[in-house]
Symmetry: C2
Subunit: 144 residues, 2 copies
């Protein structure tokens, strides 16, 4: 199943049907906006990127919450602001404190070590959140 917008839209419609929710132009446009962002986007940014300026911020939050609860989008928090992206394979983030650039990575060793640690405490892990903060290559040059 490729990730064309058409496929995403179909999945979204199925999700709505499953939850006995209605397909509205607002919901579609919000989905489209998150698809088009092609990266990490906050609710506020998403709101401002909408073509139809009549769509309310509350509808944006409502739709994003729905998508998140259905695991259609995945989030993480950067300086107190939730960042959304279409759900794909699990990964973590490394963030530049200067320019805001975000790189993604997945390290199976870290993932395994986490499981090991959790079970050593008797915890059943449902989730984790790992972010690294620093200065990216470009911003290191810029500095002096």
């Amino acid at each position: 199943m490729e990730n064309s917008y058409k496929n995403i839209l179909e999945k979204f419609k199925k999700l709505l049907k499953k939850n006995e929710l209605k397909f509205t132009k607002q919901r579609e446009e919000i989905l489209e906006a998150i698809y088009n962002s092609k990266s990490h986007i906050s609710s506020e940014e998403l709101y401002h990127s909408l073509q139809n300026p009549k769509i309310g911020i509350a509808t944006v939050y409502r739709t994003l919450s729905l998508l998140e609860s259905e695991n259609f989008v995945t989030t993480f928090i950067n300086s107190g602001v939730k960042q959304y992206e279409l759900t794909k394979e699990h990964h973590d983030h490394i963030i530049c404190n200067k320019c805001g650039k975000i790189e993604e990575f997945l390290n199976p060793e870290i993932e395994m070590l986490q499981e090991k640690i959790a079970s050593s405490f008797g915890f059943k892990i449902t989730d984790h959140s790992l972010q690294m903060f620093g200065i990216c290559k470009e911003c290191q040059k810029d500095n002096l």
Copy 2:
């Protein structure tokens, strides 16, 4: 240097001197409250734990910010709420979604892998944040 309150208080007084700040009963009481909490505490919880009810929430925030900027306390964010603790060796947290219990751990392998990942991206890491979420041993029993 042991971690008795007396020692903590002396360190705090030195910190104030160094920054040309004044020693006030409010600042002392907030320090005492965080010391007494003996674990992770939010600003709101700390505020309500104060003996002197006249101390304002703004003073709590101001004092905590000062302590944090001086690396006297360390924080992490749990469900959007900053948690404070007296600074000790670096560690990460594993949090129970049911009862809120927080366990601490330090895994040198994970720490090293993070450095490795960062440098593979050309990043200079200043900080990281790792939390695992799940259900603790006790809460697993409680469930059925």
